[in-house]
């Protein structure tokens, strides 16, 4: 059976009546109340769908685990992460005391990896917020306004797509210096074009729907139309894309840190790998040092990707039919 698309938080278009709808009379209270009830219902329905998706749930579980690790890292003792305070022998394979072994200074790779979770997730999430704000704004402006605005914005977006991102990010990071903030900004400023494209195409299809025209005929302003009708309808697509962008942002941070462009004072997974590579860990056969942070990166990126795919499948019914 074909299920209608979900519109999380949207003024729901006509949807098939469910049993509960038939039984319960119209909810009391004003339109605001109705809206919230509908939103809550939509969320419930969404969660029901999501729970059925094994891939999405596995991704969510991995993500929750690493979020826990990152929160733990905020409160954990960081004394063992300084080179001068290393407690173990250099380059020890995993043992009872050092479950992930030690690096070339004798620091515990486990402690470093736990601390790395904090920065990697922080950078990934905040950079994504920037990407989303820029991408969504440009996408909506281009799609909704159309005409000249659209052409100009899309040309700029195309340039953004053409410039090889890592090269641009390298240039920006090496010119503007090394700090967490710069890294976040650089990633945010280099990943928005694909989001802008996606949002624009979605806006173009929403714009043509009848209720927009109806609303406009009733005297709604552009601002009202965008915030009340366009944005809520584009939101699901933005959400699914956001999750995928987090994965890209985390990989970007890793690559930049690996090239020595990260913040030298904060430990991230990419930075651990940079130090491992500089010390020739692969040649020395220190698999634990290379392995631990790398496996974490893969798991977290995989988690976001799997959640993103699951969201995509729920939002886009065409995929589900396959």
């Amino acid at each position: 059976m074909q299920t209608p698309p979900l519109h999380v938080g949207a003024e729901t278009p006509i949807e098939p009546l469910e049993e509960e709808d038939l039984q319960a009379p119209a909810p009391p209270g004003g339109p605001r109340r109705i809206r919230w009830t509908r939103r809550r219902k939509a969320l419930h329905r969404f969660w029901r769908e999501f729970r059925k998706d094994t891939m999405g749930m596995v991704g969510l579980a991995i993500l929750v685990f690493f979020l826990g690790v990152a929160i733990f890292a905020i409160f954990a003792d960081t004394s063992g992460t300084k080179i001068t305070e290393a407690t173990g022998e250099p380059l020890q394979p995993p043992s009872w005391d050092y479950p992930f072994g030690t690096d070339n200074y004798g620091r515990s790779v486990l402690t470093l990896t736990i601390q790395g979770a904090k920065v990697s997730l922080l950078v990934g999430l905040t950079a994504t917020v920037i990407t989303m704000i820029i991408g969504a704004t440009i996408g909506i402006a281009a799609g909704y306004r159309g005409g000249g605005t659209d052409s100009v914005l899309m040309r700029v977006t195309d340039w953004g797509l053409v410039i090889p991102w890592l090269v641009l990010a390298i240039s920006l990071a090496s010119i503007f210096g090394q700090s967490l903030l710069i890294i976040i900004l650089v990633i945010g400023l280099t990943t928005w074009p694909s989001t802008a494209r996606l949002v624009r195409s979605q806006v173009l299809s929403v714009k043509e729907r009848a209720y927009i025209e109806r609303s406009r005929a009733l005297g709604a302003s552009d601002w009202y139309l965008v915030t009340r009708h366009v944005l809520p309808n584009v939101m699901p697509v933005i959400m699914a894309n956001t999750v995928l962008i987090v994965a890209i942002a985390i990989l970007s941070e890793t690559a930049l840190s690996f090239l020595g462009l990260g913040d030298p004072f904060s430990i991230s997974w990419g930075q651990i790998l940079q130090q491992a590579n500089d010390a020739g860990a692969s040649t020395l056969g220190a698999w634990w040092w290379v392995g631990a942070p790398g496996v974490c990166i893969v798991l977290v990126v995989l988690a976001f990707t799997m959640i993103g795919f699951a969201l995509d499948e729920i939002i886009n019914p065409k995929i589900r039919e396959r």
């Binding site: 040309r155 340039w159 053409v162 893969v298």
Partner: protein, 328 residues
């Protein structure tokens, strides 16, 4: 008729993009960049040189001129292909440094892109055609994992396993130190031996996404009415796949290959660092570490140009594959 206009339009667009990138490049490296431009040229040692030397540098590079004059000189420098002097390589023209490191990267990126595209498309077709089969499920999981891996980490793992544990391949570099003594065949073998692991890394790193796009694009096409029609009129399954489905499903994949080329270049940079493979990627890393901004600027320009040309090529391929694009 339509074809000629299409090609012309694409060429003009690429040219406009190029000009925009040139202007952006100038502003990024010479106007917006904070700090003393002299320290750029002296790689952060600006405080250690005498005022006379400093003045000489400023005059040599025309840093006291107005932005407009500097821009004109920059454009001249670019179009005469000099691209300024590298401070790390003692004032050697950036172009020369660059040409020396060009072919290894060209070889690496070229072959790996070719391989990952072919393998990805092949596996994607097989997977999409037999959806839900054992092959489909394994390759789906495999490509998701590969897609989630940083390229350089994959490289470090392969290096760890094949070079240091098994000892099958050299631990790094582009050629052996004694390569000049080797004869023709021996030299080729030596180069191939050094290139194998970086090549494997880049191929594996990108095969995943080509596979995923080809698979989903084929699934899209298989749901179309004309496939049902083809089957209904009794076209053999093989022919439905090869003549009706794959041809159409290839279109989005071509676009993706072009768009992801920028990422492949990024991957090549980090992978070359892992394997100390002396190409443009390692050169970029050197430029970062040595704070050689003029070299970095030249590299930025080249990589971007490479992506523009590659995209242009993809546009033409697309038009060749799909006549509708040409007519529009």
């Amino acid at each position: 008729m339509g074809t000629r206009r299409y090609v012309l339009r694409k060429l003009v667009q690429a040219f406009i993009t190029l000009v925009a990138i040139l202007i952006f490049n100038f502003f990024l490296f010479r106007v917006w960049s904070p700090g003393d431009p002299v320290s750029f040229l002296t790689r952060g040692q600006g405080a250690n040189i005498s005022p006379q030397e400093r003045q000489a540098l400023i005059e040599e590079y025309g840093l006291d001129e107005s932005t407009w004059v500097q821009f004109r000189e920059y454009m001249e420098d670019t179009f005469t292909l000099k691209l300024g002097a590298s401070s790390f390589y003692q004032g050697e023209p950036v172009m020369d440094v660059f040409l020396r490191n060009l072919w290894p990267t060209l070889l690496l990126v070229g072959i790996s892109t070719l391989l990952s595209t072919i393998i990805g498309i092949w596996a994607g077709i097989r997977s999409g055609w037999r959806r839900g089969s054992a092959f489909d499920r394994t390759s789906m999981i495999g490509s998701l994992v590969l897609y989630s891996m940083p390229e350089f980490w994959l490289g470090m793992l392969l290096l760890l396993f094949f070079s240091s544990t098994l000892g099958w391949f050299p631990v790094g570099g582009r050629i052996s130190i004694n390569a000049s003594e080797l004869s023709g065949v021996g030299y080729v073998v030596d180069v191939a031996n050094h290139m194998f692991l970086p090549l494997l890394t880049l191929t594996l790193a990108y095969v995943g996404q080509f596979y995923l796009v080809m698979r989903s694009s084929l699934l899209d096409v298989l749901g179309e009415d004309y496939i049902t029609t083809a089957r209904a009129k009794g076209v053999p399954e093989r022919r439905v796949l090869n003549h009706h489905a794959v041809r159409n499903a290839l279109l989005p994949t071509v676009t993706l290959v072009a768009l992801s080329f920028g990422y492949v270049i990024g991957g090549a940079i980090t992978v070359e660092v892992v394997f100390s493979y002396q190409g443009l990627g390692l050169l970029t890393y050197t430029a970062i570490i040595a704070k050689d901004y003029w070299l970095l600027q030249g590299l930025f320009l080249f990589f971007t140009l490479a992506v523009i040309v590659f995209n242009l090529f993809a546009d033409f391929t697309y038009a060749y594959l799909d006549p509708r694009v040409r007519e529009a």
